[in-house]
């Protein structure tokens, strides 16, 4: 059971959340110009990183808000949580994965002006965040 630090509600059991897969996959900017290969990349291809992975979670039985989380897919350690629309914080974990080719643009939901919360103490998962 992961203990997930929701940025709004604090640490809650994994059973309160829904998984949203890889973060920072933007909708194609010019959908009409994509060929089949590029559509396949957008629809079916996601990074499958072994190591630090930026992913989306929804606190479905709590605040019902989406957020991003950086989690190690081997140790399951939660390294950071950060707002949708903000860039992935730097970590000391294994190298980041290659960005998708369908879209290498920044997160399409980048509309707010919330600063990346890397400096905030709330971004770091409490100890024993995973089990």
């Amino acid at each position: 059971m992961l203990l997930i630090p929701c940025p709004n509600c604090g640490s809650r059991d994994e059973t309160e959340f829904h998984y949203g897969g890889q973060a920072h996959v933007a909708y194609p900017e010019n959908p009409t110009e994509l060929n089949d290969r590029e559509w396949a990349e957008f629809l079916f291809y996601r990074d499958n990183t072994k190591g630090a992975f930026a992913e989306r979670w929804l606190h479905s039985t709590g605040c019902r808000q989406w957020f991003n989380m950086l989690r190690d897919t081997v140790t399951y350690d939660i390294q950071a949580v950060y707002a949708m629309g903000t860039p992935r914080p730097a970590t000391t974990g294994p190298a980041a994965s290659e960005p998708g080719t369908a879209s290498t643009a920044a997160d399409s939901t980048t509309t707010g002006n919330a600063a990346p919360s890397t400096s905030s103490s709330s971004t770091t998962a409490p100890e024993g965040a995973t089990k």
């Binding site: 994994e14 059973t15 089949d36 559509w39 396949a40 629809l43 291809y45 990183t49 081997v74 399951y76």
Partner: protein, 406 residues
Amino acid sequence: MSNQQLPEHPDFLWRNPEPKSSYDAVIVGGGGHGLATAYFLAKNHGMTNIAVLEKGWLAGGNMARNTTIIRSNYLWDESAAIYEHALKLWEILPEELEYDFLFSQRGVMNLAHTLGDVRESIRRVGANKLNGVDAEWLDPKQVKELCPILNINDNIRYPVMGATYQPRAGIAKHDHVAWAFARKCDELGVDIIQNCEVTGFVKDGNRVVGVKTNQGTINTEKVGLCAAGHSSVLAEMAGFRLPIQSHPLQALVSELHEPVHPTVVMSNHVHVYVSQAHKGELVMGAGVDSYNGYGQRGSFHVIEHQMAAAVELFPIFARAHVLRTWGGIVDTTLDASPIVGTTPVENMFVNCGWGTGGFKGTPAAGLTFAHTIATGTPHKLNKPFALERFETGALIDEHGAAAVAH
């Protein structure tokens, strides 16, 4: 219920050779699929100067971690063809490999708990029959006759409204299957190299010409990837992507009990599948954890959920104990069907995406993947399972259509 003893452990199974400097083909991954591929490369295509590289110990990944269910009652023609071919191979392999790995055709029952389940099940029975797959629809009374320990009362949360039944389906001793293939591979001259982790590939332009390992670089004309949950990691080393997500999948066993469970029961809706192993332990599996994971372990609430379902369906399990739980890493695709075929890298081939159901496919994966590697073109059975289907849109959507969610 089989009261057979476990097979006698042979004195000798395989050599542990040093890797040669070059091979005609290298298979990455010494699990069931890798070993079956090597076996069929040697047997059907005369390719004996080949090696199987395994980063850990032989068949210690998903081959050691699955619930050993073998069935072929898939909905779509493409799936029914490849899984039914696998089942036919399972029926002759003990003799062919000269190793009785206790393939027990005790039948597999897939329960229906809702009207939607009932309709889907009856449709699938019809589709199976048209594809030459043995299938029957059972009403609750017939379900009870076949498996007396099942609770068919209608006062439980998800009552049993019937089941599909495939009599030729069953279970086998998974470790012995791997050893049977490994022994034959070794006899045919295949080098099985354990503790040999692939760290990269040598390419000449877009053509693979070698494999870098922790035991040195091995030159090879062809590479076949059979790495299940780690397929994406290898593909990234080779410079291409796969539409695969790796998830933890857990299973567990109870302590040993007298034979009480005569068949295999699977329930898609409440998500549990149960059989009783030859020695007597109840073997159960559940669904995948939602998140991507390479940790070979999952969350306990998944097991708790599965146990709740099992106890409601099988009240006599209430006082059994969980003896051991474990997890494997399964390679899931978005259409819940495998990928067996060529890759964007020349002379590199991939067999992956079998997700939660790869064990049953082992012989057909080996047969078709060996054909693909040896000839450079797919066998007719794996042609629909090419990587290109994600581009063409010709998906084989077995989600919810395959008797159990993958």
